[in-house]
């Protein structure tokens, strides 16, 4: 699936296109399919999200897993500070990234 991601203009937080807006959680990511470029163009013009781009991902185990490690780290947070990630109490969170 094609998923869209960027950083929120004001907070800088990583966000994912959920079909109608932007979510902090990668599990909300929607398949943008062949609409990816059109959505990116509209959202770029709205200037609320910075540097949005389309990536490959796959739905698995109830979440969405971006194809590249960089976007998995973006989805989770720094692997060396799991306490600061979106899953601070999940000891397996780091292995999802690798």
């Amino acid at each position: 699936m094609k998923i869209l991601t960027g950083n929120d203009l004001k907070s800088g937080a990583v966000v994912w296109w959920d079909g109608s807006g932007w979510s902090l959680h990668v599990e909300d990511a929607a398949d943008a399919g062949d609409q990816a470029d059109a959505i990116l163009a509209t959202e770029s013009a709205a200037r609320r999200v910075n540097a949005a781009y389309a990536i490959d991902g796959a739905r698995e185990d109830g979440t969405v897993r971006p194809a590249h490690i960089k976007d998995r780290i973006r989805a989770l947070g720094p692997t060396v500070r799991l306490d600061l990630t979106l899953k601070p109490v999940d000891p397996e969170a780091g292995s999802w990234v690798i």
Partner: protein
């Protein structure tokens, strides 16, 4: 320490107001991200993987305890309770909100600090010797010259959009502790035969994907022409540095492509012209700045003897303390490299504690080193034990300066949007593998540096052992290099061969140190042995 006057203060206050206005225009949508990006970068604000990152300037790595305390408070108030000290003697915060960035700058301005030109294609924070003013081997304190350059380079109207970033280092001793020749311009303040002070200019060094050691362009620029000569160097670069390819835009490429003789000739021509333009601050300006860096009121006759009866203290003393020019005093380095820790990170509480210790033990002065540690430059030897006990209690007593555990590492793919691989986990695993004190002692001085991409923020080219993280078809892979060195005998590391995965690179490092331990002769460091026996024995052990 330098103190702002009303002019300096107004400059940083004005910058806060300007950035607040720019941020407003961005949030209201008047500026596109492409237009805003260079503006925020000129103020040290990046967009990284998880949030904005703010890099705060610590000019020539020197700061007082009030400034250090504010750095801790900012970590608590606007970030997530910690900061990261960088290889340019700065500090950066990883979790900044755009809307709050102007408020942070306002807090910084209250203690004479800023984030001006800590990024972007402009002249960056000027780095210097972390032992300046305390080392016995300097001809003069280099920091007044760095301050003169700081003011000249701040908002320089001609150099706001250089082809690429531009880094100065200023030192004043033959022992180079600032990797001076790996800068765009490295300046060494020297004395000529007549006893006059001047600046030797090394231009066109740098790391990145094409590492180069800066050649000497001019061996003596009189100090009262320092600014004019610098301006000539920059003007030639601004006019003729490449702008067609960002990877070839640094001044090192220009100097390399046209040759140092031709570059030097063009600079001399521009210099002769600029000397007629009256752009050099008068000698009175340097004379105004110099006294700010005068010696603190050292106690005369302070005792040199130290009670070494506590073995843990003795270990730290031998590792982390350096000779001071003043009898009875020592230079202390606080290691930010605990075993298994994140190199250069410090919690808000640790930052505030170091501020207090700087106030109580070091005449209110601290330094940040390019190796991502903190220095207390002027500590009475009689106070070392008490200081060490305070550090130990806060997890800041690690005794590993310049050893294999004292790793330089960039933030890597855990934080940085440019990175290809993570650096920090590799650093953590290596420091854990080599945690045993006897192992550390046997290996001795060994500078290990890790970068998570070819931009080389982790200085891997200059590591006795260097590690470069690359992306191999979506998987992190690490290349090993040996034989790099910064300082007077600067050399660039050579790659050993094919790369490794995360565990593999740690094993490879261990095999390299085993080769050293087997082959070392009396008094040889890892680097010396490598230079004597060459790459082959290491290759055999690593890949054989």
């Amino acid at each position: 320490m330098y103190k702002y006057d009303q002019y300096d203060q107004t400059m940083v206050d004005t910058r806060v107001a300007e950035f607040r206005d720019q941020t407003r225009r961005r949030i209201e949508g008047h500026l596109t991200e492409d237009q805003f990006k260079p503006l925020r970068l000129m103020n040290g604000l990046y967009l990284q993987l998880h949030a904005y990152m703010l890099r705060v300037a610590i000019p020539y790595g020197t700061l007082n305890s009030a400034q250090m305390r504010v750095l801790g408070d900012i970590a608590d108030r606007y970030d997530r309770g910690y900061g990261h000290f960088t290889t340019r003697q700065n500090i950066q915060y990883n979790w900044i909100k755009l809307e709050e960035a102007p408020d942070i700058l306002a807090d910084l301005a209250k203690v004479e600090m800023h984030a001006i030109q800590t990024s972007g294609n402009c002249i960056r924070n000027i780095s210097s010797d972390q032992y300046a003013g305390a080392a016995a081997d300097e001809v003069v304190d280099p920091r007044p010259y760095a301050e003169l350059l700081r003011q000249w380079s701040s908002f320089h109207p001609e150099f706001v959009t250089l082809p690429r970033k531009f880094k100065f280092a200023v030192i004043a001793s033959d022992t180079d502790r600032a990797a001076m020749r790996l800068h765009d311009i490295g300046i060494q303040i020297v004395k000529n035969a007549a006893g006059e002070l001047g600046a030797a200019f090394y231009v066109g060094g740098g790391m990145g994907r094409t590492p180069m050691i800066a050649p000497l362009i001019r061996d003596f620029v009189p100090v009262d022409q320092l600014i004019t000569y610098s301006e000539a160097c920059l003007r030639v670069y601004n006019r003729y540095g490449r702008r067609d390819n960002k990877y070839k835009a640094r001044i090192k490429i220009l100097v390399h492509e046209i040759g140092k003789e031709e570059y030097s000739r063009q600079v001399e021509e521009e210099f002769a012209h600029l000397l007629t333009q009256g752009i050099e601050p008068p000698a009175a300006e340097l004379a105004r700045i110099v006294p700010f860096f005068a010696d603190p009121p050292f106690e005369q006759g302070a005792p040199d003897s130290i009670d070494r009866s506590d073995p843990d203290f003795a270990l730290w003393l031998d590792r982390n303390c350096h000779a001071h020019k003043q009898p009875g005093y020592a230079i202390v380095t606080i290691s930010l490299k605990p075993v298994g820790g994140i190199p250069g990170d410090a919690s808000a509480d640790q930052i505030r504690l170091m501020a207090d210790l700087g106030r109580d033990y070091s005449f209110d002065e601290l330094r940040v080193t390019h190796a991502q540690n903190i220095v207390l430059p002027h500590v009475r030897k009689a106070d070392l034990y008490g200081l060490w006990q305070n550090l130990e209690a806060a997890g800041l007593g690690t005794a590993n300066l310049d050893q294999i555990g004292d790793i330089i590492a960039c933030p890597g793919l855990d934080y940085c949007s440019l990175a290809n691989a993570r650096s920090i986990p590799v650093a953590q695993k290596i420091s854990e593998r080599f945690a045993a004190p006897e192992k550390l002692a046997a290996i001795g001085e060994l500078k290990l540096k890790i970068s998570g991409c070819i931009n080389a923020c982790g200085h891997h080219h200059a590591g006795h052992i260097g590690i470069l993280g690359v992306d191999k078809k979506g998987v992190e892979n690490y290349q090993l290099s040996l034989g790099g060195c910064e300082g007077a005998d600067t050399s660039l590391g050579k790659i050993t061969g094919p790369g490794f995965d995360e565990d593999g690179i740690v094993d490879a490092v261990e095999r390299a140190t085993d080769v050293y331990l087997t082959n070392k002769q009396d008094g040889e460091r890892f680097l010396d042995t490598y230079r004597r026996i060459g790459m082959e024995p290491f290759k055999e052990a690593i890949y054989g």
